[in-house]
């Protein structure tokens, strides 16, 4: 922590804080859609850091992470919407969502304890899909999730009397809904970053590292690999659950469609592309991968018109093409991720030498 206190770091932190505060107002100049894109970028930072615990720290390749996001989102949706007529406050629902996701994490984690690598990936992928299909079909015989139609009219986040949707005027400054959510998400993201940083240098963090490196050796030095692995699943899942809850409240609507395998893969790509196990890298990966496709959505169409005078390729497919190409290029030239941890970088450098 001492590093934080030197003037250069303090200046950096001040600069970042100013930028974080100014960002939603700058983005709003381009329209509220951009603020929403920012919101999602931060939400993905949150999710990616949660997954980073499982994949980056403990080295457990989890392809079903979105399931925990879904559990959190549905927990919020069911406990704060007209669907069941329940409207509980955030203080109750968010912990319940996190708790349910945590339980789901342990439940899904425990059968996979002996699996590694590819096998673990396939099983977790299956679990992720099972959860989604459950949400899709749990509308009969008792209508729990309202099936593919999803749940609508979900309550927004309310803290005290302060509502996070709609416009509010504070000190002569009008804040839109997405702008308010932005600040809530940034606060949550800072919390998860601090937790991640603390975990990394803790005994638990070192135990995760050991398991990632060599499980037999980890047992031999006295690490209870079963509990420590389950802890990784549980913590990662809890963060997913919290993110899911905020997502449901922000959107006002959830349906199983939002929790497809593609989402799991996107979040994993954020972790891997940014730099597995390296917190700043993961944040960078999450921001880039969530903003880039949206930026391309707005950029690709007009760029074509400017270059060729007409639309040659449908912007929607072109943007994914460009996106895919960017991923391939990063993996080709930056195999450890865009911003890998110093150890990882050194390892690759030593291998080359």
């Amino acid at each position: 922590m001492k590093k934080w206190l030197n003037p250069r770091s303090a200046f950096g932190i001040a600069l970042i804080s100013v930028a974080l505060v100014a960002l939603p107002f700058v983005a709003a100049m381009g329209g509220q859609a951009w603020v929403r894109i920012l919101d999602f970028a931060i939400l993905y930072v949150f999710l990616a850091l949660g997954l980073n615990i499982v994949v980056g720290f403990a080295g457990l390749l989890d392809l079903g992470y979105i399931a925990f996001y879904a559990v959190g989102a549905y927990a919020w949706a069911l406990l704060a919407s007209p669907h069941f007529g329940i409207h509980w406050p955030i203080w109750a629902i968010l912990p319940i969502g996190a708790g349910l996701a945590c339980i789901a994490g342990v439940l899904l984690g425990s059968p996979t304890l002996k699996l590694r690598g590819d096998y673990l990936a396939i099983v977790t992928l299956g679990f992720g899909e099972i959860v989604r299909i459950f949400m899709n079909n749990l509308n009969a015989p008792i209508n729990v999730t309202n099936g593919p139609q999803g749940i609508t009219l979900i309550d927004p986040v309310m803290i005290g009397g302060f509502k996070f949707s709609g416009n509010t005027t504070l000190f002569g400054l009008t804040l839109s809904g997405p702008q308010k959510y932005y600040f809530l998400l940034v606060a949550l993201a800072i919390l998860v970053i601090i937790i991640n940083l603390r975990l990394q240098n803790s005994r638990i963090g070192r135990a995760w590292q050991a398991i990632r490196e060599d499980e037999i050796a980890a047992k031999a030095v006295g690490i209870n690999t079963r509990n420590i692995k389950l802890l990784a699943f549980a913590m990662g899942a809890s963060f997913g659950g919290i993110a899911g809850g905020v997502f449901a409240a922000m959107q006002g609507f959830v349906s199983p469609e939002s929790f497809s395998l593609m989402e799991s893969i996107m979040i994993l790509a954020m972790v891997v592309l940014g730099g597995m196990g390296h917190i700043p890298g993961v944040i960078l990966g999450a921001v880039l991968l969530s903003v880039l496709p949206e930026a391309l959505r707005y950029g690709v169409g007009p760029a074509q018109t400017a270059l060729f005078g007409k639309q040659l390729v449908d912007p929607e497919s072109l943007r994914m093409l460009v996106f895919g190409l960017a991923l391939v290029l990063v993996m080709r030239f930056k195999p450890a991720g865009l911003w890998p941890s110093p150890e990882r970088k050194r390892e690759l450098a030593e291998k080359k030498a």
């Binding site: 005994r203 070192r206 135990a207 590292q209 050991a210 990632r212 490196e213 060599d214 037999i216 050796a217 047992k219 031999a220 030095v221 006295g222 690490i223 209870n224 690999t225 150890e343 990882r344 050194r346 390892e347 030593e350 291998k351």
Partner: protein, 234 residues
Amino acid sequence: MLEVTGLHVAYGGIQAVRSITFHVNEGEMVALIGANGAGKTSTLKAISRVIDAVGGDVHFCGEKISKIAPHHIIRKGIALVPEGRGVFPRLTVAENLAMGAFLRHDKAEIALDQEKIYGYFPRLKERAAQLAGTLSGGEQQMLAIGRALMSRPKMLLLDEPSMGLAPIMVQKIFEVIRIVAAEGMTTLLIEQNAKLALESSQRGYVMESGEITLTGESASLLNDPKVRAAYLGE
């Protein structure tokens, strides 16, 4: 100190270890030698609880340890140096050593032990900040032994410390193994290199297809015509 009675290990239908019985006394170095596939590593894995034995008992200091969880073995005072070294490749040498003391909280003593290990293996000190995965095989073996010693064990289980190493490295590593044993460490050494193992130990057991076929003082085993013919290439 370590009593193994009727230990039986099987992988599916394949009998790897057939009901073997042996013991290691306190302060003694015992060698378990035998050819590839004789069941030596399976024996060690069963003692350290990495795998489950089908039958038999293991007692350590009078306490039954054949049913406890694998991560509790080290709490009892048994440190395993796994086959193929098993260092943590993406941690530095110093971090690997620190990991060996995972269960200990006495910081000052841990630092002392670390210096002691650097004394045994000066090479590790030179490379303290290097990633373990980039060390040579011999250095990794040194690190694995060092890490095991960091837990201050009562007993050391060594699984083929000479495997795949250059002769000069084997010499260096065995020098330290002998020093540690001379300082009173109870050691069970598993080796294919029968000559080296018998020269370093007080007593030996010879394993063949999952059974112990010969036992005795290491010096006399070294002169045993059967051992000489089968394992010493004469």
